[in-house]
């Protein structure tokens, strides 16, 4: 929807798609949004030991991926973690 992009207005179809994607994460993982939130926080904690990351921009999802060993797709955790500064922590040492 290029025209809608121009006005920076999200269409209801896009809302539906975004809501569904979030919904299916917890459905597929068979775990509640709270547990997903805990996983997310733990990931932030671990990675933050080594580099500065953008916790706000962190995106974690459970998706389907093609498995090499078994045929068909298997669930996979996909995390997109924007790094703010790579060197920051090491320099502090």
């Amino acid at each position: 929807m290029s025209l809608l992009d121009l006005f920076k207005k999200k269409s209801s179809g896009d809302y539906a798609k975004d809501r569904l994607k979030l919904l299916l994460v917890s459905d597929r993982a068979n775990c509640s949004p709270e547990i997903m939130e805990q996983i997310k926080n733990d990931i932030i904690k671990v990675i933050s030991k080594y580099m500065e990351i953008d916790a706000e921009g962190l995106d974690i999802q459970i998706t389907q991926t093609e498995s090499e060993s078994s045929n068909g797709s298997v669930p996979a955790i996909y995390a997109n973690i924007p790094i703010k500064d790579l060197k920051n922590k090491s320099e502090n040492k």
Partner: protein, 263 residues
């Protein structure tokens, strides 16, 4: 080799029965021997969509319980002699049949028919378990709505767990005008979310209501939905009625391709 296809969706009211009626009729039109089984015990529907409601003598539960032979319960379609319906029981509940009984019944029907199509009830309870136990492959029907897609995702997971050979998707009731203005998820959106093979897209077409009123499936007629169902049937037979450019093309061009091929 005969094939057993279950038509399922999770959510009710998305078009399972309409799809079963049209796919079954479409396959019969392509000279296949087809039997449709209504597995929704207690809520009989497929007979009225097919226009065969006045011809029912015996039903699925009668066959399973041995009150009659299979042949006695099968209703031959009034238009296509190679098409048959095994109606559901209206006065019993879903526990009247077990997955094992359903498997046995389907095995016997395999000797006689090319395609056995199971109209699955909504939900994921015993009726669903019965239907999928006997199936080789599944067609999941959904509409471009959050609730229907969520349920479809759950169903696809359950089908995978039951190790069906193949699962395909039909996106039903698409309104092109709404997709165009961004107020409905597109076919691409739905396929991306569910990551399953698309076997057909059916537009929201008032001709469906008319055909259901008349008890005559519209597959193969001049309406958009009729053409869409005819294409789905050809794809079921393994024919390449491809929408190859699916991912990059605009919705309209893609839909144009789907319908163009049926002419």
């Amino acid at each position: 080799m005969s094939e057993v296809i279950v038509i399922t969706s999770g959510k009710g009211g998305v078009g399972k029965t309409t799809t079963t009626a049209n796919v079954g009729t479409g396959l019969a039109k392509l000279n296949k021997k087809v039997v449709l089984i209504d597995t929704d015990i207690g809520l009989r529907n497929l007979d009225v969509v097919m226009g065969l409601e006045n011809r029912i003598v015996y039903n699925l539960v009668d066959v399973v319980e041995g009150n009659c032979r299979i042949k006695q319960a099968l209703i031959r379609d009034k238009r296509y002699p190679s098409l048959h319906l095994l109606p559901s029981a209206q006065t019993r509940d879903k526990s009247a049949v077990t997955p094992e009984q359903m498997k046995k019944l389907v095995e016997e029907l395999k000797e006689e028919f090319d395609y056995i199509i199971l109209d699955c009830p909504a939900g994921i309870e015993q009726g669903f378990q019965n239907a999928i136990a006997a199936a080789d492959r599944a067609i999941v029907v959904t509409t471009p709505e959050v609730s229907a897609i969520r349920d479809a995702d759950r169903i696809i997971g359950l089908l995978e767990a039951n190790e069906l050979k193949r699962t395909d998707l039909i996106v039903n009731r698409i309104r092109m005008d709404m997709v165009k203005r961004g107020d409905m998820m597109s076919i691409d959106d739905v396929v991306e979310i569910l990551s399953v093979n698309l076997i057909g897209a059916v537009p929201d077409d008032e001709n469906i209501v008319i055909s259901t009123n008349q008890g005559e499936p519209l597959v193969g007629n001049d309406s958009l939905a009729g053409k869409a169902y005819a294409n789905i049937c050809r794809r079921i037979l393994g024919e390449e009625v491809e929408f190859l450019e699916l991912s990059n093309e605009s919705f309209f061009k893609k839909l144009g391709n789907i319908f163009k091929k049926s002419k």
